[in-house]
Symmetry: C2
Subunit: 122 residues, 2 copies
Amino acid sequence: MHVDLLACAVCHCLAARKQARALTRHYESRLRRHGLKATQFSVLASLALAGPTPMGELAELLGLERTTLTRGAALLEEKGWISAEKADDRRARPLRLTAAGRRKLDSAYPAWKAAQDSAATI
Amino acid sequence: MHVDLLACAVCHCLAARKQARALTRHYESRLRRHGLKATQFSVLASLALAGPTPMGELAELLGLERTTLTRGAALLEEKGWISAEKADDRRARPLRLTAAGRRKLDSAYPAWKAAQDSAATI
DNA sequence: CCACGATAGGTGTATCTACACTGAACGCAT
DNA sequence: ATGCGTTCAGTGTAGATACACCTATCGTGG
């Protein structure tokens, strides 16, 4: 099998990852002083918008692996920004935004907005 | 400051990260049996195309942080797929694809090609 | 020559990411 | 009621990612 190196240079995966890295650096440079990573901001915002949401459903919503959200949610819970509630289905642990989480989201919003509005310039 | 949750739902960063994650899963599901991650494949392919390249320049080329490449390159070097050479400038450590690295790239290429050709279906 | 800013690269630390595997609870069919 | 496949979530492990900070080397102006 002949390896087409030029084809490799236009790898869709690499391109998507490059752009995601660049955008992440752009957003996180502004979110940093609020102590938030890009993924953490989107978790808080999603919960604010959708209300209490089971882990699996939230992971699906954010397009990340369920087990990835497990780790990330644990960090947010330690900081007191979200809480895992009990549900009728005792397997489920619906995530809910706490009041502190809502305040964190509010305070970080202008930084996110600035990044969002200037994202096209990257 | 009023938080526009609907605006947060169309975060460019989240969108880019979602797509990058999905594409990465797609490519890595095929690269897995070759023991390669997406980033590792792009490092090998870039070195095959560009020849020996200093770390900083390669990081720039791949759009990733220089210190990120430091860790990734160490793993590839452990596996014997790349080697860090000595240069006239003793600070520099140009990375070079080894013969084993070239063989690894060759053997993984069909898997990458299959992922590339089916990437649009995600 | 040599001091000093510039440049190449590495380390400590923290988070993100995901697969393989595991445990627990659920619900249905018998 | 109970056995069993399904579903929800956590753990072990490994690599990706990046910032703040560090060391070593280089080149140049004085």
